[in-house]
Every structure is written in C-alpha cells, then in structure tokens.
Amino acid sequence: MFSKGSSFDTDNIQAISWKQQTWSKNLPQILIYLILVVGSVLYIFPLIWMVLTSLKPGYQVFSPDLLPNPAEWNNYPRSLTYTGLDFGKLYLNSIVITVANVIGTLLSSTIVGYGFARLQAPGKKFWFVLLLATLMIPFPVTMVPTFALFNWLGWIDTLLPVTIPAFFGNAFNIFLLRQFFLTVPIELEEAARIDGANTFQIVYRVMAPLVLPALAAVAVLTFQNTWNDYLTPQIYIRDQSLYTVAQGIRFLRGSLNPQWELMMAAALMAMLPVVILFLLAQRFFIEGITLTGIK
C-alpha cells in the first residue's frame, strides 16, 4: 500500500547499505555479534523480568525463583481493579484522547503543511520562521497561562484541554509534512486543479494519499506521545473517572502496599497498545523519528 512511489523505504536503504563501504570492514563479525547479542539480552531483560513478575503469585514475588510457579494469570484481571480505580474506564479515556489527537493532528498539520509548501503569500517567510522558532519554546513557559485559560473556560476535569489543542497543528508535524509536499510533482496538483478540484479536495484527496508514509509516521508518533503523556493530563485532569491509563499507573505507584505482581501486570497492559503498534508499524516509528527527531 505504501511502497509504490514511497519517497523513503527503509528496506531499500538497508539494501544499499548492505553493499556500501563503512568506516570499518576489519571488526570481526563474531565480536560485533557478541556485543550486540549480549547488549540486546541486557536491554530486553527488564521487559522479560516484568512479564515474569506479573505472572507470579503474590507470595512468590519476593522469593528468589526466576520463573512463576504456578503462573497466576488472574493477576491481569485483578490488576485492573485492585486499587479501586476502574481501569476499563481509564482505557476508554486514553483511547478517546489518543484517537482525537491523531485525527486532529493529521487534519490540521496536513492542511497547514500544504499551505507552507505550495502557496505563496506576503508574510509567508515570517510565519515559517516563526513556526520553526516555536520548536524551541519549552512547554513549561506556556504551561501556567494555558492552564489559567482552560480553567477560565471551565475545561478543567474535561477531556477538552488534552484533545482540542491537537486540532491546531503541531509545528514538527507541519514542518515534516511540508517537506514531503515539496517532493510531490506540481504537475499532479495542476492536473487535479484543471479537473475542477478545489484546494480542500487537492489537499485531502490528491496530496495526502501521495504522502501516506509521512502521514503514517505522524500518526504513529502522535499515538505514542499521547498514549504515554503524563504531564498534560496530570495538569488538567484531577477527576479519577477521567484519568488516562498513564495517570492510573502513577496512581498504582502511590498505593500504600505495593503489590508488584499486580503493578507489573497493569504496567504491561498499559504498554501493550504502543508495543503492538510498534510491531505492526515499526518502520513508520523509525522513519518518523529519523525525520522529525522528536520523541
């Protein structure tokens, strides 16, 4: 679906690099593999340990046994309710917020990115520099007045402050999409215009499909950022029934008697959506990171 005419394709680049010279051809392969394998095991072991802990019966968590015996699958359903938080609801909140952010970012960043890529107007340079400059403004500087604004609007303890801003675009994504629109041949757009399409149709019907890989990268990164975000919901959402999953996990951390097997089960489930997305769309994550350089 994405491969035709895709302007970047990791596998392709992989193939190129396979043949290409690098800084060293003398490092023994065995040594490289050894380092990489040991490193990977060390790297992945925390997650394995997490899975093992999550399956242990409570009394086994502080025993030296590595493997759960017997595996306590019940930890997973139990972890969803044991602190009194209704995680079912939290998942729903997180899903709503994440989907709204992905849709909002895609809709707005696409049209703004197109504007900056293809249209001319007085002041355009100024706004474009400003757009890039906003990349440097740290969130904390705007945090307090933005809270005051949403507070004044009565939006505290609603999902609005964590969803609506996405509909106004995000500088990195706008910039990324602009770069991609620049690579689309102008002839395609002109052909569509001759056929009577307006700008709106051109952007969403003609241009967007041509930069689908970029849109996919924006989508997965927005998904990941929103799902994992803790600070923003923490500022605006104090009502536990509107908590996100990330806030719920923080709540577990605060619980008086840590039941690590349940906490690990809950944390693992909280990670799962992003992990699944990563397994399905790894290349878009990697391309997105490569292109925007943001986490």
């Binding site: 504007g115 904390p140 994992n228 690990m264």
Partner: protein
C-alpha cells in the same frame, strides 16, 4: 524532483535553518514563484490553510508566553485578583534554596545523561552500521524501550531498583556486590534515574544510524584507495561527516533533558532529600500544588532562558566543530 529525502536530514534542517536565522548576517530564504494575477486569492487561501496553526499559535504559544512573562511579575493564585509585585518573584529565587537545588539536580542529571546517552547510542549505531545480518532486529530491540516512555516505564524501573528484591540488586548480589538502596538513598537516587533514562535512548540511536547511512560510500572507497586504515577512516571521515547529526542530537537531547518531568515525578517525587528534584518537578509543585502562578511563571522563564542559552551555545559553537559540505547546503534550500 522526486528524489528521496535523505534520512536524518529533514529533522536537521529545522535547526540548521534556525541556526542560520540566529546568526547575524545570514538571511533566510525560501524559493518564490513569479507573481500572478491570482496572487491575492492565493494569499487568502494560504492564510486560510495555515489558520489552524496561526490561531493555535496565538492561543497556545504567543499569548501564553506573553501572559507568563507578565505573570512572572505578579502574585496570583488563579482566582483572586492579580497583584503586581515587580521583580519580587525573581528576587525571591535568589533566596529560594529549593530553586538552587532544582537547578543543581537538573544540571547534574544533564551532565551525566547527555554525554552518556550520546556515547552509548553512537556506539550501538556504529555496530549496527556494520555489514551484518539482522540489523533491523537488533535496531528494533534497542529502540523498543524508547517508545515505552511514560509512567509504566518508570514504574517498571522502580521495581527493578527495589533494594531488597529488585532485579538490579539481585544481579549485583550474584556478582558478590551488595547493591545500594538506589531510589531510597539520596546518594544513589539520581544515578538510578540516569540509568533508568539511558534505557530509553533509542531515538538518538535511530538518528545516528540514519546519519551514518548518509555518509557517501565513495568517501570510504577513496580513503581506502589512499591506504587509510579503519581507525583513520573513523576519525577522518565518519566523525566529521557525522557532526551535523551529533549537533542535532545534542540540541534535541539537551532541550528534552532540561524538561524532564515524568521520571522523577513518578519514581521519587523529587526525593529523597530533594536529591532528584528536577526543575520541572519543582515548577509543577509551585504552579499547581501551591497555586503560585506568578512565581511559577518566573521559574518557567528562567528555565526558558537557560534552555535558550544552552541551545545558542551549541549553535554558536557549531561553526567550530560541525562540518557542512557544500552539497548539503545546496539541498537545504527547498
């Protein structure tokens, strides 16, 4: 026309352009088309298209920034009338022990995390740029933790660092070492957070891998013909050619590090004995727990200025150590 955008470059461009913008005497330039009869209409459409961002810019960036600057000279609890107190918030910082603690903690964390994360991710990237099979598999593994960032990530590490039965101290005890009490000890809590954060350095790794792939193979071939050995090639080709990527990563990680919040907020809440009181954790406390909007705004501006100063420092210094070849400069336009 339809040429692939070089990986690692697009992201760099923004800072490249910015850095030029920030340097006096170099003007920023974009391509322009000849004027047409449709110009006025096109302008209108342009402004309509960018209006979501434009409105968002005024509502969520420019407006709040000005407001926060104004608030930094006031006392306000979000409800009572705002009272102007001049520079008292800034004076108060000089006397505020926790402010200095937060600065010290944040700088110490950055001083360890930034170089370590860059060294490790560059090292792994160099290994992964070798001619070996399974690169994407290894890359996936090293990158995976980075996408898990967030509270679940931190809670996992709190468990790993649990002093009596956590994985870290278990491993140490197999080696015959009695592990420290990590997050419960003011001396080891910050190092624990550095280790915790290093696990998620995947983004830098990916950008380095892309940067390495960008180095034209012809350079290596030519050097090999000239009889340069791999050490020479590494220091005379790889490193210089990689400096733009290093520069980009450095700026990015620095900005992110100064704004670290979740790690300390979830793992330690800033304790024990304020040994992990990240700047933003302290700022959050002032802004939303003590409802000191004025003082918090002043703190936020100081953070902004610090980040700005560091970024400018790196950007200004870049001419001395970042290598841009003319070809890259050319691609940069449009």
């Amino acid at each position: 026309m339809h040429k692939p955008l070089l990986l690692g470059q697009a992201g760099g461009i923004s800072f490249l352009k910015l850095s030029r913008f920030l340097k006096p005497g170099i003007t920023f330039n974009t391509s322009s088309r000849p004027p047409s009869s449709l110009r006025r209409k096109e302008s209108l459409v342009f402004y309509l298209c960018i209006s979501p961002w434009l409105i968002g810019f005024f509502l969520f960036t420019a407006g709040p920034m000005l407001a926060s600057f104004f608030l930094s000279f006031t006392r306000w609890d979000y409800f009572s009338p705002i009272s102007w107190i001049g520079a008292r918030n800034y004076e108060r910082m000089l006397d505020d022990e926790l402010f200095w603690t937060a600065l010290r903690v944040t700088f110490t964390f950055a001083a360890f995390y930034v170089p370590l994360s860059q060294l490790i991710s560059l090292g792994v990237a160099l290994l992964l740029s070798q001619k070996i099979k399974g690169v994407s598999f290894f890359r996936g593994i090293f990158y995976l933790p980075a996408i898990l960032s967030g509270t679940a990530y931190v809670v996992l590490w709190v468990w790993l660092f649990e002093p009596d039965r956590g994985l870290v101290n278990n491993l140490l005890s197999w080696l015959g070492i009695k592990g420290p009490r990590w997050l419960s000890d003011p001396n080891t809590a910050l190092p624990a957070l550095v280790i915790m954060s290093l696990w998620g350095m995947g983004s830098s790794l990916i950008i380095y891998i892309a940067g390495l792939k960008n180095i034209p193979p012809s350079l290596y071939e030519a050097a090999a013909l000239d009889g340069a050995n791999s050490v020479a090639r590494f220091f005379y080709i790889t490193i210089p050619m990689l400096t733009p990527t290093i520069f980009f990563n450095l700026v990015l990680v620095l900005i992110q590090t100064f704004q670290s919040y979740t790690t300390a907020a979830v793992a330690t809440g800033g304790g024990p004995l304020d040994s992990t009181l990240f700047y933003l954790v302290y700022l959050y406390r002032r802004a939303f727990q003590n409802q000191e909007a004025g003082y918090a705004s002043a703190l936020a501006w100081i953070l902004f200025l610090i980040i700005l100063a560091f970024t400018l420092l790196v950007v200004r210094s870049s001419s001395a150590w970042v290598y841009y070849d003319s070809q890259r400069g050319g691609k940069d336009e449009k």
